[in-house]
Amino acid sequence: MIAALLRRDLAQFFPFTGSGAALPVVFFVAVAMLFPFAVGPDANLLAKTGGGVVWIAALLAAILPLEKLVARDIELGFFDQLRLRGMAEEAMMAVRLLAHWLSFGPPLVLATFPAAALLKIEGETFRILMLGLIVGTPGLAAIGLMIAALTASLRAGAALSGLLLIPLALPILIFGAGALARQDQVSLGFVAAISLALVALAPFAAGAAIRAAREN
């Protein structure tokens, strides 16, 4: 049952197979492409600020898929039907979290290769940026899932979720981008720890949220 649900969720959200799900990656690369035009082609300046730009682009790209992440399946009665087959909301949300991360985390990490080339990020900085995104994107996905589930029954949910994600993602951003500035790996440890805690928490918070959404 879990495997069937994961296959279905991936088909829904994965870039190029799902409905316009490639948008976050395109957006991400577009930001990296526009930045050198905006600040000028000074390689030193780009290398110094580029890492932070990639992090901001990743954070904003994480907002894009939130609108469809949970609300649509509540409207469809999809979660209700799974519930009637004995599946816990927490399990549905854990699967959704995995599918959501797979559909934007790894594509974003791959898109960092062209983005880094455009921003003249090389060597140790590039390595730390990649590691940071690999451990940081699960946390972003977890925050996104919780927010999407909480705002699913609100009419202005989509607009609200973007606003809510930004402050909640600040710790990941601070440590992730901070690791670049200081070239240290301790900050990456913090990013990983925050991500782990969020990933562990998200299925329960999101599951409770979609249960609560039924009551009104």
Binding site: A4, R8, Q12, S19, L76, G77, F78, D80, Q81, R85
Partner: protein, 203 residues
Amino acid sequence: MQAPSPSLIADNLACRRGERLLFRRLSFRLEAGAACHVTGANGAGKTTLIRAVAGLTTPYAGEVRRTGALALLDERTGLDPDLPVGRALAFWSGLDGSADAAAIMARLRLEALAEVPVRYLSTGQKKRAALARVLGQAAPVWLLDEPLSGLDTASQALVSTLVREHCASGGIALIASHQPLDVPGMTAFAIEDFAPAEQEEDA
């Protein structure tokens, strides 16, 4: 399918929508082979009752006891709008392990629509697709919320036939509808009979 014979019991059920008490002291007991028709005007609380019986919402008071798996049909199809009907149904028949998906689609006259995305279906066609999902589930307890809405005359007759067959094979059906169904031996109650009296509501 499973050893214990199915049953569906509501005991002293009360449900609210927002601040308003919709019904109270509602009890029924359905054993294998029983069909029950819940009537009531729009907004009287039929859907609320069905969702509470399904266990999707917590009733304000009372409890629901059920033996046997449950299949729910309501205004939401549970089918992915972007997928063709055949594949959207295949997801559920895969979960439910139903083998006769093709026969069910034929029964509900869905073969011609198998390649059409769900979002292009008309209201009645969507309802038939959702019925196919319910049939594929092969659950002994059926909860049908407005199963006739949007259906043409032939399909409405088909719903009655399906309920008759389901009950004849030992299933239970609780049907909320303001339209009549042709199922012999079906009990019925009006949800308004359990609505709180005016003075009670004020209190």
